[in-house]
């Protein structure tokens, strides 16, 4: 029986499959379709210090093999999460992470501090890369200094597993991977969405109310794979791969490229059961190929010329 366990920071995941923030709600939305306890982990949607309404509709546009979104971090704020949502979802026997977003360093710190007290929370994923919010978000993750500032400040107040989710909308992703590692991140996850746009020729207007939005789905996989490969070469901390993963084959590609774990995002919209299917198919793959441990796959891409 193959061993699917993966260790990310201080957290041991039963398997390398997590669900991406913003695509799996708080888990409860998917209870009718699968057994959440089978997953390695779930990352609940971006949580900010105070309630946010998010952007005006239209917030999404379908694209070839993907979609654009500009949801704009709609959430009821960290206090509501702690008081009303966490008590219900802490029962899941999977590792729970919260994606943390903010417009200022202080806001990130406030949220991280409050979440630090939650016993059944495995860790947080720092969202420095959301491309939709005008103030903050994208501006943090595309500048080395602000990235450094946020990670350093949050690390001071958050003692459990700290994952930093990188933005792909930069010229050199490895620089940001190294900054996150330097400032004490336990892991990096990449990629967040790519900045894109869609136009309606009938109205001659952009489809999204915010004009630009984040691209996700199979369309981004080649870019995500490339970035995971590049970052895995320069950091020692585990890398979590995200970007258009629709099945176990995609997941294995990311692991060969260097990812110790992966996140399934947009695929959940097409098939609500996909995340658990990937867990099961990864196990089958290991057994079929007589691989004793999933970690044996990580970073074993033969990229010698």
């Amino acid at each position: 029986m193959a061993n699917l366990e993966v260790t990310i920071g201080k957290t041991k995941l039963k398997n390398p499959v997590l669900t991406a923030s913003g695509t799996f709600g708080y888990g409860e939305e998917f209870e009718d379709f699968l057994n959440i306890d089978e997953l390695g982990g779930i990352i609940v949607k971006a949580t900010t210090a105070s309630h946010r309404e998010g952007n005006k509709p239209p917030r999404m546009a379908e694209t070839a093999s993907g979609m654009l979104n500009s949801v704009g971090l709609q959430n009821k704020g960290v206090d509501y999460f702690i008081g009303h949502i966490y008590p219900r979802i802490q029962k899941y026997k999977t590792c729970l992470f919260v994606n943390v977003a903010g417009s200022t360093v202080d806001e990130y710190v406030e949220v991280a501090e409050k979440l630090n007290d939650l016993t059944n929370l495995a860790g947080i994923e720092l969202n420095i890369s959301c491309p939709n919010v005008k103030k903050g978000g994208m501006s943090f993750g595309t500048h080395p200094e602000t990235t450094r500032q946020v990670v350093k400040s949050v690390r001071k107040v958050y003692s459990k597993t700290l994952v930093v989710k990188l933005s792909p909308n930069v010229t050199g992703i490895t620089e940001f991977a190294l900054i996150a590692q330097d400032e004490g991140a336990d892991s990096i996850s990449l990629i967040n969405t790519l900045l894109g746009m869609a136009i309606d020729i009938k109205s001659k207007k952009p489809v999204l109310s915010t004009i630009t939005g984040g691209l996700s789905g199979p369309a981004v996989k080649p870019v995500a794979l490339r970035m995971v490969w590049q970052c895995s070469k320069v950091v020692e901390i585990p890398v979590i791969g995200i970007g258009g993963i629709m099945n176990a084959t995609d997941a294995i590609e990311f692991m060969l490229a260097g990812a110790s774990a992966i996140q399934v995002g947009t695929a959940n919209f097409i098939d609500p059961c996909v995340s658990v299917k990937i867990c099961q198919d990864l196990e089958k793959y290991l057994n079929l190929n007589n691989i004793s441990s999933i970690s044996d796959l990580v970073g074993t891409l033969d990229d010698s010329s």
Partner: protein
């Protein structure tokens, strides 16, 4: 509400009503769950790489004896066009039943207003209202008489009033112009409406002025259909809520429409 399912449903029948509209009858191998008027399904359409997301359709009719339900589909783009080329015996991967439903009172007199493919949920709604000893009137608006579909079916359930923009059938103009709305001798206990947003706003305004309850069914662009992604939100007095879970049916008074 019934637990949501994801299933391969068999296409047992399909019928082209005209160039633009067709119905699809889908059958489950398991006993169908409780399905309420106003709810919808999300269909996976495999065909083109730019038809990536599922497509939502309201339940149009149900046949519990045959364990089937029917969808009414308007061809508006590549996804629905691909769907129109399926054949009996094919299967469709379906997530259902989704969303909330219309309120079903008893012993009243109700007006069901539909524009274009907005008529889709009104057939099932009418059947359900009749089961609870209500009477129903239909008010259907289209661009031209060729766009009128299944009128004989509606006539079996209640009075049918028609408007066409070009006057080729019924009253000329929009539904809001139809005399049935302005006839003092007719009183409605409530209105249900589904169709273009401008039409629903006009009807909601009419209902508000008369102090009548009005329920609308919205059709926002959806990604997940199950309340996880927050892409399909609409503004209500309670803030932004998902049309796929808190809707698609809303009381018009709860929406932040300037009417």
């Amino acid at each position: 509400m019934a637990k949501k399912r994801i299933e391969e449903l068999e296409i047992v029948n399909y019928e082209y009503l005209n160039k633009e509209y067709f119905t699809l009858e889908l059958k489950s191998n398991r006993k169908l769950p409780d399905i309420h008027p106003g709810q919808f399904v999300e269909l996976r359409i495999n065909g083109h790489h730019h038809v990536f997301l599922r497509r939502p359709f309201s339940f149009h009719d149900i046949n519990t004896g045959k364990n089937t339900f029917t969808l009414l589909i308007q061809i508006v783009g590549q996804g629905t066009s691909d769907l129109s080329r399926i054949r009996a015996g094919d299967t469709l991967n379906t997530i259902y039943p989704l969303g909330n439903s219309f309120t079903i009172p008893e012993n009243g007199n109700y007006l069901l207003v539909g524009g274009g493919c907005g008529v889709a949920p009104l057939l099932l709604l009418a059947r359900k209202l009749l089961q609870f000893n209500n009477t129903v009137h239909f008010l259907i608006g289209t661009k031209t008489k060729n766009d009128l579909i299944e009128i004989d079916l509606y006539k079996q359930l209640g009075n049918v009033n028609i408007t066409t923009e070009d006057g080729s059938e019924g009253e000329k103009g929009f539904v809001i112009h139809h005399p049935v709305l302005w006839d003092e001798s007719i009183e409605f206990d409530g209105i249900y409406t589904c169709g273009p947003e401008d039409m629903m706003k006009a009807i909601s305004k009419y209902a508000l002025k008369r102090g009548i309850n009005c329920e609308v069914s919205l059709e926002n662009m959806m990604a997940c259909g199950i309340g996880a992604c927050l892409c399909c939100v609409t503004e209500t007095i309670k803030g932004n809520v998902c049309v796929c879970t808190e809707g698609p049916v809303f009381n018009s008074g709860d929406l932040k429409w300037q009417i």
